[in-house]
Subunit: 195 residues, 2 copies
């Protein structure tokens, strides 16, 4: 290892998810070979994004403006809300271009183990939106994990008083999936929901 | 995906070795959660390193000064040169703290396939150092690949005229390695070099 400046950079890089000290060194050496093509643009882009990107005050999405471009887009179906755990899930839904409604980002899931209670999540704002906006359907798209399911149940109960339709993403066999490799839980869910 | 600024950052991140579009998105979301603790320091460190880190004019190492801190360190054995393919290999040698001589970074290996010829590497400077400095031993520490071995052979011939001692790293069984999992080439090398 050479000088402290390089070590600082490697140390910071190693904090990124999926990178360790070894891969951080590789990344830094790669960057130093392309100072003008990659290293400086990356640094500028990091600073610019850190300065400009904010959480949307309505849905919690990350964007350069608040309300975000999804909340302000004209062509969206404003009567449907899709509730997701985090921004990554929102992006995953958007990639498919199959959903044209609005979103609500919870910012996590309820978890007794990690001490996450309803007040730590963006749930009050969700109840407000359902109560005050003209929403006809709430699609709960939390992950199919124990915590995700618990959160979905909690939200369903919480929103019951508003008389809005509450739906969940279907469970079943992934497209291209082979029965032989699926767990019993998924198979049983797919069988129960057969059409 | 939201706005172009975020997309630019994800696009740049995805160019780093070991990261793809999916992990780049994960890294960017992680950074946005820690703007002041990680994102801005990382950007500053990238800019600072890009501005200050240069290749050492003597050995080719990366450092904030040229000559680098290894070439200028007093306690080093200046009669021994270790020839490595790249800076990552130099760092690997330094991590062990077992070698106390100087280095020479080739910047690659000879490769007919990739069209790398001797003039593309830092070999002339190596010959100059051996000819003009008081060097008694050159340790060739290129990788144990075909191209690495070819480069080692070339350097050995090139330096023959200077009457300097030329050695190579030993081949053999890695510490902790099991015979059962080793290839025949390594086993045969270990057997030949038995002591």
């Amino acid at each position: 290892m050479s000088h402290s400046e390089l070590e600082t950079l490697i140390h910071l890089m190693a904090k990124l998810p999926g990178l360790g000290p070894r891969s951080a060194r590789r990344v830094v050496l790669h960057l130093l070979k392309q100072k003008d093509a990659l290293m400086r643009p990356l640094a500028q882009s990091l600073l610019q994004t850190a300065d400009n990107v904010v959480n949307c005050e309505i849905c919690g999405n990350l964007d350069v403006a608040s309300p975000c471009h999804i909340c302000t887009e004209n062509k969206r179906d404003t009567k449907t809300l899709c509730v997701v755990e985090n921004v990554a899930d929102l992006w995953a839904m958007e990639r498919g271009s199959i959903y044209r409604g609005l979103y609500h980002v919870l910012g996590g899931v309820l978890s007794a183990m990690d001490g996450v209670s309803p007040k730590d999540l963006n749930i009050d704002k969700l109840a407000n939106r359902v109560a005050n906006d003209d929403i006809s359907e709430v699609i709960i798209a939390t992950n199919a994990t124990v915590d995700g399911q618990t959160t979905a149940h909690y939200i369903t109960e919480r929103l019951a008083e508003y008389g809005v339709e509450i739906t969940r993403l279907a469970h079943g066999i992934p497209i291209g999936g082979e029965l032989d490799y699926l767990d019993e839980g998924t198979l049983s869910a797919a069988l129960k929901s057969r059409k």
